[in-house]
Structures are given as C-alpha cells and as structure tokens.
C-alpha cells in the first residue's frame, strides 16, 4: 500500500466579490484542479511549482487541514481530514513559516510537552531526542527560550519537534526558507541521513532547487493545479532537458568554434575556453570532442548537466507549446 495516495484531487475556494453597492457575487477559484500521485515508503519527493500552483493546498489536504472538494486521498491508510488527530500521530509536519514550538519556553520544554501530547514512551522519546540533539548540534541552545533562537536554530528545533513521535512520513513545507547557506546544508544532510538510515519518507515543497538536487530522487512538478511532470530527477533531466553543455579548454585561444549540431554559448579567456551547447539525442559528447579536437588542440573537457532550474523552466516552456512529453516512472 502506498504511503500517500492521491487520485483526481481537486480543491476549489468560493470567494464573494462585491458587485455594485450591496450585491455580492460568488465566484469559484480553483486551487487544485486535478492532482494524482502515489508515494511509496522510503521515497524522497520534491513537490515543486511556482507560487499559487497549488502546492500548499495539496499539503493541507494531505495533512487533513483541508477537505478536498473532490477526488480521493489516503495518507498512511487514513482519510486525512476525517481522522486528522490520528494521522497527526503518524506523520510529522514542518512548516517553514509557522512554528509548533512554545515561544516563551526553553526549547527543551517544547520537546517535553510534545512527548506528553503525542504520548511517546519516555525511552523512545529520549533516544530520538538525543540523536537529533547530536546530529543537529542543538546542545548549546536547548535551554534557550524559543523566541531568542536564530531562525537556523529554530528550524532545527522544528524538525526535531516533528520527529519525536517517530513518524514514517515527514512533510516539509518550504523548510529552508530564509536560512543561510550553512544552515541549509546542515538541514539537508540531516534529512538525507534520516531517509537513508531510518527509511523516513520525505515529501517537501520548496523553491530552493538545491534542496531538490541534494535530497529528492523524485520530482513532482505542479502548475495551475495540475501535475505537469512526475518522475525520477535523472529521468526528467534526460527527457525534458536534452541539451548538454560541453566545456572545452583549448591549448590556445581560437575564434568561436563553428561545429555542426552545436552552438557556442559562452567564450572565456579570449577563446581558450568555450561552452558548446548540444542536443545529446543528435550528437554524442564523444563525437563533439572529436570534432573540436580536429579544429584545435584540446587541453581538458567537461560536460555540464542541466541545472534543475533549467529542467523546470523547460517544462513550463513545453507546456506553453503543448508539447509536453508524458513522463513515466
């Protein structure tokens, strides 16, 4: 059984707009049009899309905060909205922009409160807490009131708070928002380890594509309330962004190379380093390197994979041109 199963999920909101002086007109806004996906235990899934695409609305339906207008959803075998409290004991949720800690109390007291609220046996609680404190280096500020913590420290506390009851699924809504680079790296490393060692399933929404690059093996891209693409990150890259960049370092500067099937995107050092963009379906890197070597002596080469941002941008372009490939897993 899938840990998360969503079929034809739909959510609309009814807004009342003022028309004239007294009349009000109801009109419907579709936040999630038609979303289907299934997530198995142990997966790491990035749920991405632009603002207003329906990410948070989907997360709210998965965690039981919102009832779907239509469709089917099960999380850990439960219907989320109907059994929200029960579900809360099985999943962990981290909202990057909200806090589940007690603002005025030392961090450690929030953890103690959560132990009682979630009825976690003392020994299990102590084990999990010790592990989080060690890995997230929270020792120095465990006794500091939450309101005095830096954002990076608080987020470590938030993630710990979501894990103390030992959930099989951790849902993170923009967990790295506003964090500095070091804090992001630390958090990602921790989450990756959590998935690898404990098999905790991760579902995260983010605008930070490095999060996805380092954490997610699978990507679900959503736009205008629909799933645009769903598949392994590597596969998406291959399917959607077929262009690769070959960076060649030449023995001496030459004018921009003109080669069939490749174009020069960028030239450095007067022409001794050139960035050649090619379609890997039409031309292999090896053939291109041979072609370059015929024109000028090659010192070094490297092939750049497309950035995840390019993959997503390309997805949106393809949608515009209605040439979106169906990506299967």
């Amino acid at each position: 059984m899938s840990l998360i199963e969503a079929r034809d999920l739909r959510r609309t909101f009814t807004l009342r707009r003022k028309v004239g002086r007294f009349r009000r007109q109801r009109h419907e806004v579709v936040a999630v049009e038609d979303v289907s996906f299934a997530i198995e235990a142990g997966e790491t899934v990035g749920y991405v899309g632009p603002n207003g695409a329906g990410k948070s609305t989907t997360i709210k339906m998965l965690t039981g905060i919102l009832v779907p207008t239509g469709g089917f959803v099960r999380v850990c075998g439960l219907e989320p909205a109907a059994r929200r409290r029960e579900l809360a004991g099985r999943i962990g949720v981290v909202f990057g922009q909200r806090s589940q800690l007690w603002w005025d109390l030392p961090l450690l007291e929030s953890f103690d409160l959560l132990r009682d609220i979630f009825r976690v046996p003392r020994a299990a609680h102590a084990d999990r807490l010790d592990e989080c404190v060690e890995l997230l280096e929270m020792g120095p500020f465990l006794h500091t009131p939450v309101r005095q913590l830096s954002l990076g420290q608080r987020m470590r506390g938030e993630v710990t708070a979501a894990l103390l009851h030992g959930p099989r699924l951790l849902v993170l809504d923009e967990p790295t928002i506003g964090l500095d680079l070091e804090s992001k790296v630390r958090l990602r490393r921790f989450l990756a380890r959590l998935n690898a060692e404990r098999g905790t399933t991760l579902l995260l929404t983010t605008h930070d594509l490095d999060d996805i690059e380092t954490l997610c093996r699978r990507l679900v891209v959503i736009d205008h309330g629909r799933v645009l693409a769903d598949g392994p990150l590597a596969g998406l890259r291959a399917e959607v962004a077929r262009e690769r960049t070959l960076v060649v370092d030449l023995e001496r500067p030459v004018p921009p190379l003109e080669l069939p099937g490749a174009r020069v995107a960028h030239v450095e050092n007067d022409g001794s380093r050139q960035h050649l963009v090619f379609d890997r379906e039409r031309l292999t890197a090896a053939a291109l390197i041979t072609a370059v070597a015929e024109r000028a002596p090659v010192h070094d080469v490297s092939v750049l994979e497309p950035e995840i941002a390019d993959v997503i941008r390309r997805l949106y372009e393809l949608r515009e041109s209605r040439a979106l490939p169906v990506v299967d897993r």
Partner: protein
C-alpha cells in the same frame, strides 16, 4: 474499534504538564508582571479613595461599610489579572496568522489544552498579581477578613469558577476570529463592558434593583462580583457559586460547539 473515542483517558496526562507550561510561560515576563502589578496598586489607591468618599460618615452604603469597601477594592484589583479580564486573546491572533492549523492538528483536545494553559497562568497570577495588592490593602487599610472558616473554601472554589467563566468568554471571543476579519473590535467592547458589568468599577449592589436582576442573567457578575460577595460573606455563598457554576458549564459547552463549527469552516471553506 477504539475503546476511548474521545481520547480523554489515554491522553489525559498531557494536561497537567500544560498547566505547568502555562505557569512557566507567564513567569518569563517579570518586567511586565511588575508593571501590571504597580498599575493595579495605583488604581487601587484611587478607587479606595473614591469609594471611602462615597461612604463618608454613613455606616454603610448598599451593605458596604468602610472595611468591606476596602476589601472589595483590593480583592478586585487583585482579581483583574488573576481572572484575566483584559488579556488572553492569543488564540484570535493565531487564527489571524493561520497558526491555528497547527493547534487544531495536534492529537489533543484544544479547548482543554487552552484551559490547562490558562489555569497555569492563573496559578502564576494568583501569587504575583493577587497576593501583593491584597497584602497592600491589609497593611494600610481596615480589612475585612472572612468570619467563618468555610468561607475560605467557598472563595477558592468561587475564584476557580470565575477563571473558568472568564476563560469560557475569552475562548468564544477568540473563536470569533474565524468569522470576523477583525475580532479586536469585539474584544475591546468586551473589555469596557466587562469592567462595568462584572462589578469592577463600582459594586453591582450600587446599581438599581432592575439592572441587577438583568445582570444576574448574564455571566458578567460571575467574573468578579460573585467571588467578592463570597469573600465578604454577603449572604449565603450558594447562589453566587451556583451562578458561576452554571455559567462556567454553559460557556465551556458553547465553546466546544463553536469550536466544532470553526473547525468545519476551516477544513471545509479553507478559513
């Protein structure tokens, strides 16, 4: 399938800790406590002066002699924060910010959790905001202590019920934020009205008979006047405590019903 459908038996033990947490949360702000305390004492001095001037040479006014009037004022000043007349609206703030989704998503009874936190706050304010103004009154004015030992017991129960009634009203005002874009207006009106109608500004016994009868049908006297009457032994404690108990139960039940529809609104309409 579940032997404990309300989750009350199984989850009962997070509430004592929440009481403790409520106590600790408030004790984090010592400067605010001292500022509030000194305000209570200063206003107490003004009120005592005013009330003693009203009584003047007469032996008693509306049943109050000088000692009973002094007791009424200082006990009342101590009850402002202890009963939490004008604060405790953080839930409305959480509704506005959307953080309420976290509160309602937890495997607990939210109303009970909030009540537990408020009882912790009550404990803290009992020590820091109630005892000092009363001690001040005892030291510098003629004070009327209860004549019967049983009065202390009744007063303890009455004070606890006053907190429950106050909590019940505040909980409903807090939940109003689910429907009103801005619940602060309603909360301000309550602040002004409660001071007058609960018997803080002047004793309700100074009001004409007709108004007192009408007020009896509202929860306002249960916030303060009932407890003050119990302490100065104004007739039997039973009607006052009964009045408080009735309102505490009604308000807490209303809170549950309103919360259920607030949750439905949040979950179905999306807040």
């Amino acid at each position: 399938m579940r032997a404990d459908p309300w989750g009350l038996i199984n989850r009962a033990h997070c509430y004592p800790r929440l009481v403790l947490a409520g106590f600790r949360r408030y004790s984090a702000y010592r400067a605010a406590m001292l500022a509030g305390l000194s305000t209570n004492v200063v206003f107490g001095l003004m009120r005592v002066g005013l009330l003693l001037a009203v009584i003047g040479e007469r032996p008693r006014v509306a049943g109050y002699d000088a000692a009973a009037a002094v007791t009424y004022v200082w006990l009342g000043q101590g009850m402002i924060a202890t009963v939490s007349m004008w604060s405790g609206f953080h839930v409305a703030e959480r509704v506005r910010s959307g953080d309420i989704a976290i509160d309602l998503g937890r495997p607990w009874d939210f109303q009970l959790a909030e009540l537990a936190g408020d009882l912790g706050r009550f404990g803290y304010h009992l020590v820091t905001r109630m005892v000092p103004p009363v001690a001040f009154g005892v030291l510098f004015f003629p004070f009327r202590w209860p004549q019967r030992l049983s009065t202390w017991g009744w007063f303890a129960v009455s004070l606890l019920l006053a907190v429950m009634v106050s909590f019940g009203i505040r909980y409903l005002l807090n939940l109003s934020a689910f429907w009103l874009v801005e619940s602060r207006g309603l909360i301000s009106i309550y602040g002004v009205a409660s001071g007058l109608l609960a018997g803080l500004v002047i004793p309700l016994h100074f009001f004409p008979e007709g108004i007192r009868t009408i007020l009896w049908w509202t929860p306002f006297p249960a916030l303060m006047q009932d407890s003050l009457d119990v302490f100065v032994e104004r007739g039997s404690p039973l009607p006052a405590v009964g009045h408080q108990l009735l309102w505490a139960v009604l308000l807490l039940l209303a809170g549950r019903l309103v919360q259920r529809s607030a949750e439905r609104k949040l979950v179905v309409q999306g807040g």
